[in-house]
Amino acid sequence: MRDVSIIGIGQTKVGEHWDKSLRQLATEAILAALSEARLERADALYVGNMLSGKISGQEHIAASIADFGGLRGIEAVKVEAAESSGAAALRLGYMAVASGLMDTVIVCGVEKMSDAVSSATASAALALAVDSDYEALHGLSLAALNALLMRRYMHEYGVKREDLSPFTVNAHRNAAGNPYAMFPRPVTTEAFMKAPMIADPVSLMDSAPLADGAAAVVLCPGDRARQFSAGAVRIAASAVATDSLAIHDRRDPLFLEGAYLSAQRAYQQAEVGSADMDLFEVHDAFTITAALSLEACGFAQRGQGVRLAQEGEIAMDGRIPICTMGGLKARGNPVGATGVYQIVELVEQLRGQAGLNQVKGARLGMAQSIGGTGGTVITHILEAP
């Protein structure tokens, strides 16, 4: 198996792109990444996306994007794993290069949530990620399921709503330094507490905003990376794990087993432990998800994930900075594209190009993307040049 490096990154601003189509967004990110890598073409393109068919009426988008992006003829395939589709596309791109089958690969995550006519349509579409027979059919949306987890967590560990606010406050503080972020504005604890409920106790301020966006990376074999880029970042680990879709089938609903397995596999591959991570781009689709992810990945004991946030350990100067460019909450959540945004942001950090948001001396960064409420979890660990 060969080493794999990232030699180019590209991203669009995250927001409502009324005037750009899904393939226009994807092309924008892909061309930016190729340009950085000083390449005009690649051997393959893997596109991560969750809802192109449901919302935009177009499946078969990898071929469409390849054509639109001037790459007609190359190998191109859409990869889907609910909200972790972007990370899943990176996994496949990684395998293609590591195995020796491909030399240069483009990985692109793209989503066009604003094609959903209403928030009800968007919510119903996201519910495709949960168990359709036993959860979605009964009206359990993604927000409702996370509300059940949050309510149980609050009960078991004596946690109050306000105790989760540091995740949101931290994410927004970091977004201020990210020109691609959707909401680069600070949020106070008061604003957090006054936010309207989506599914009690999950409020608007606990939930990452759905958005449009596209992010892309270019991969090549590690031993050739320096030909393309001085800032090549090595993929030290790439690991996927699954768990039941339905939370009622989980061994312990308050333990993200998929995150645990995926993280453990990644740590093993990279021959590191959680203590070696300099930053963690966590899947903060909901504040409770961030807390549970920190626990499952070994950064905090069970029920202590919230304490990590309250004690400032998740801040830029803390023990384990998270959401360094705003996270899903403030950079925005373009669903299937999110996993690649996390990677792009890690690369910026590890290259020392994160500007105001630079985590000092960042050498190892971890990104984790979650599908549904934890049915698929994909972890990548990247190493600085």
Partner: protein, 351 residues
Amino acid sequence: MTIMKPTRETGIVGYGAYVPRYRLLAAEIARVWTEGQGALPITEKAVAGLDEDTVTISIEAARNALKRADINPQEIRAVWVGSESHPYAVKPTSTVVAEAIGATPDVQAADFEFACKAGTETIQAAIGFVGSGMARYALGIGADTAQGRPGDALEYTTGCGGAAYVIGPREESLAYFEGIYSYVSDTPDFFRRPYERYPQHGSRFTGEPAYFKHVLAAGQHLMDELGYTVADYTAAVFHQPNTRFPQQAARQLGFTSQQVESGLLVPLVGNTYAGSSMLGLTAILDKARPGDRILLVSYGSGAGSDAFSLVVTELVEERRDRAPRTRDYIARRKEIDYATYVRYRKKLQMH
């Protein structure tokens, strides 16, 4: 040149408003649909009674305009009504109004439509008729009895009301037009097919790429072409689908809240659709002083904005008290509950 000016100067010879007396509180709608939860886009809206419709609203507003204008209705050469709730799909509202006010038979009559800017188009056409010398007076009306799908966000704001303007020569006007402009694009933010009862709308798409894009472009372009800045205007009135949109548009163009407050009626009457910005203008004229410059920008989904720049003359002071003021109609209110509203607006089909 993209802004429009006729060969002879024209203005408003008389204006009139009408708002029905019934009021449905937004809080009452929320009581029925959301158990009182959620933010309310306005305070209350005006509801047409059992015997009211776009025709009756247009007639009363027209009569008020005629009282102020004090002209012989036989000298009106065109009667135009813009609405998205004409009572008939085929049978013009305008002929009923023309006959009721004594303007028939030597009169051009037509119904206009373009969502919420159906009314301001009648004014633009009237400026053309009068400004070209084809007519001494033309009457333009914007009126609606807007319908919202039960439980939909728009139900909170769909209101009833209208305004009428007698357009004539500048010398006879209480306010004259300096220039007008229209900005239009194919933007499907809100639409209704012929056999559907209620329209569909594009949620967040109705904001930035629809309302704001057209209102801001039209308002800014007209001011730029006329060589004015917001400081040259005493008042500005925009299409008012809810309280927030016109305030935000005003802010983005640079207007202060004082400049928009006299024309901002939506919190108390709702969105009167084709009547919205035109009704707002009547409220401004009710208090305006000679020399005041006013900007009006309407918005119609589909989409487009009509912009007008006008200056008030001395004649406003002797004419404005000849008919009820808009705020008098607003103050004349009778609260009804949701059930009465359902009956009045015929939302329940029993057969």
